[in-house]
């Protein structure tokens, strides 16, 4: 584990009149894998978009090692494996990889290694429109891994994947436990999440709540979202 300081401070954001975050706080101090959990539409992807600057908060700041994340800092330090709809359907996987690699000065050896690891070499020359959901997802992850960013955000990486793809991504997440990267993974697949981390960020009401869940994420999820909520949305610290 490597010391890092990722901090969300007094973050507020709303879609028109619908508030998603109201003065939410979160502090993560070490590298490793963190889960991000919350019901559908609660704002998990919104949080990732706010961290990467694709959305602008109405209030508050997001910092990495004490510096507010600007587009330049995001480019240098943050990678985001988002929904595969951001890929150009008529370009090939290799076209996307070439662009990202050139932008981030990634060596050919690393491209080859990551492509091997995610097993995308067989379909990398096909157009994105002809790929399956799992193949697109793996391609998105390759694109996010290439720059070796300090903070890696993965939005529902296990969604709609075949068992092979799930295994590949699970192994990848296991590997992240021992790297110097901080990885935040949002997922509805709590079983899979439990296999790779016990450090979970819950999106509760309009806040973030960080917890180490010894009994598994599912039990805590049930307490937080299916029953009366004893814990008020507040600050989370790790």
């Amino acid at each position: 584990m490597v010391k890092m300081n990722f901090e969300i401070k007094d973050l507020s954001f709303a879609y028109r009149r619908h508030p998603v975050f109201i003065e939410a706080n979160l502090t993560l101090m070490t590298s490793g894998v963190y889960g991000l959990v919350g019901p559908n539409g609660s704002g998990k992807s919104t949080l990732f978009n706010l961290i990467t600057g694709l959305l602008h908060p109405t209030q508050g700041a997001i910092t990495l090692d004490g510096t507010v994340l600007t587009p330049n800092l995001v480019f240098a330090n943050v990678a985001y494996a988002q929904d595969s709809s951001v890929l150009y359907p008529y370009l090939t996987g290799r076209d996307h990889i070439r662009f990202v690699a050139l932008q981030h000065h990634v060596a050919a050896a690393r491209i080859a290694a990551v492509s091997e690891q995610l097993e995308i070499t067989q379909f990398v020359d096909q157009r994105v429109s002809s790929l399956s959901q799992g193949q697109k997802q793996r391609l998105m992850i390759v694109l996010a891994l290439l720059p070796e960013a300090r903070l890696l955000l993965m939005d529902e990486p296990l969604n709609g994947l075949d068992p092979d793809s799930v295994m590949i991504i699970r192994n990848l997440l296991e590997d992240f436990k021992s790297t110097a990267q901080m990885v935040i993974v949002s997922s509805h697949n709590l079983d899979e999440l439990d296999k790779v981390t016990d450090q979970i960020i819950f999106k509760v009401d309009q806040g973030l709540q960080f917890e180490t869940v010894a009994d598994g994420a599912e039990a805590r999820y049930a307490e937080l979202y299916h029953h009366a909520r004893p814990v008020k949305a507040g600050d989370g610290h790790a």
Binding site: T52, L54, Q82, Y88, D95, F99
Partner: protein
């Protein structure tokens, strides 16, 4: 920027967009030539018919004239000079009509000069006497005679119309057409497909996440659009030019061909060359801003076309309005040039780019 440009090229290539540009450019260039040829043929037949009608009226009058006496009485000398002038006018009009029908512009120019000289002669004896047959008043006759003599001296031919099939003239007119802002905005809406493709879908998020500064995306798009516009213009102009060389008229036109007392064909071409890049920059920035601000493409197109046409044809401040400088020129070549309008064009283009940059940085993607 270089990597973004490579990505843009890949996108253009993978979608076959380059083939579409080439195809549309060829069709546009050929259509422009065809329409100009048709317009010129219409105009030529109108001129020939007018001359024929005038010469018939004149012939009718001259038939009733008694034979010229061997010795002309002193008081009848002026009358017979007038009849001589009318005969010369009749011959010139008839021959001019024949030359026009045959499409022989050099011959037509010579007979047109002869017609104008005979008209001048006739006016000495009967004020505005030529107007009855030529529909030209004395001031117009003097002006046209001066121009025609200049053209004869330089070996050029008269083009009474703004339509000409001489390659230089038809190309200048093509670019006048393409750079007219309401036309250009349509072209740029098509050519700026890369920007719309990204920002009308979620794919712009991929771009924005992988650039150090968002403004790079904007500048690269601006450069790509200018390059695509240059490619389109080159192919469109090439098509029209080749057709003009192969099937063009027999007119011979030099850059010094006087369109008006203030403007020659060369000056017109120079104006277009100077205005081309800034107007494309300005309108591309408009298209970029429109894409970011207006969600529905039909609304976007309507707003952009209405705004550009409105600014182009505003009836006041024409000399300082760069859009009007280009727009009115398409309709009326006599519009005087104001190169200072270029300064306001650059200011508008720069400001619009600044606005796009702000939208891009403040936008919730």
């Amino acid at each position: 920027m270089r990597n973004l440009a490579i990505l843009s090229w890949l996108r253009v290539k993978r979608r076959g967009f380059w083939l579409l540009i080439i195809g549309v450019a060829i069709v546009t260039g050929a259509a422009f030539f065809g329409v100009t040829k048709w317009q010129l043929a219409q105009e030529n037949s109108t001129i020939a018919a007018r001359l024929e009608r005038g010469s018939e009226e004149l012939g009718g009058q001259l038939r009733e004239i008694p034979p010229k006496p061997a010795k002309i009485p002193k008081h009848m000398i002026g009358y017979w000079h007038m009849i001589d002038a009318k005969e010369q006018l009749l011959v010139a009009m008839h021959r001019g009509s024949q030359a026009k029908t045959a499409g022989n512009e050099h011959d037509y120019t010579r007979w047109h000069v002869a017609m104008l000289e005979a008209s001048m002669q006739l006016d000495k004896y009967v004020p505005n006497g030529a107007a009855e047959f030529t529909t030209l008043d004395i001031q117009t006759i003097k002006r046209q005679l001066k121009r025609d003599r200049y053209l004869l001296a330089t070996g050029q031919t008269v083009i009474n119309s703004i339509y000409s099939l001489a390659p230089r003239a038809v190309l200048t007119r093509l670019f006048l057409f393409l750079l007219c802002p309401p036309i250009l905005i349509f072209l740029l809406l098509g050519l700026n497909w890369l920007w719309r493709d990204s920002f009308d879908t979620k794919t712009h998020q991929f771009l924005l996440l992988h650039v150090r500064q968002r403004s790079h995306v904007m500048w690269e798009n601006l450069v790509s659009t200018i390059v695509l516009m240059a490619l389109f213009s080159l192919i469109c102009g090439g098509t029209t030019g080749i057709l003009a060389i192969l099937f063009g008229g027999k007119e011979s036109v030099a850059w010094s061909y006087p369109l008006t007392p203030q403007t020659s064909l060369g000056v017109q071409a120079a104006i277009l060359a100077v205005f081309a890049a800034p107007i494309v920059w300005c309108l591309t920035a408009g298209v970029q801003a429109g894409t970011l601000l207006l969600h529905h493409i039909s609304t976007r197109i309507a707003v952009l076309v209405i705004v550009s046409a409105g600014i182009t044809f505003l009836p006041f401040g024409i000399s300082l309005n760069p859009f009007a400088q280009l727009g009115y020129r398409l309709l009326d070549w006599q519009q005087p040039l104001n190169i200072w309008a270029l300064v306001s064009l650059l200011i508008v283009a720069g400001s619009l780019t600044g606005v796009v940059n702000i939208f891009l940085n403040r936008r919730n993607a």
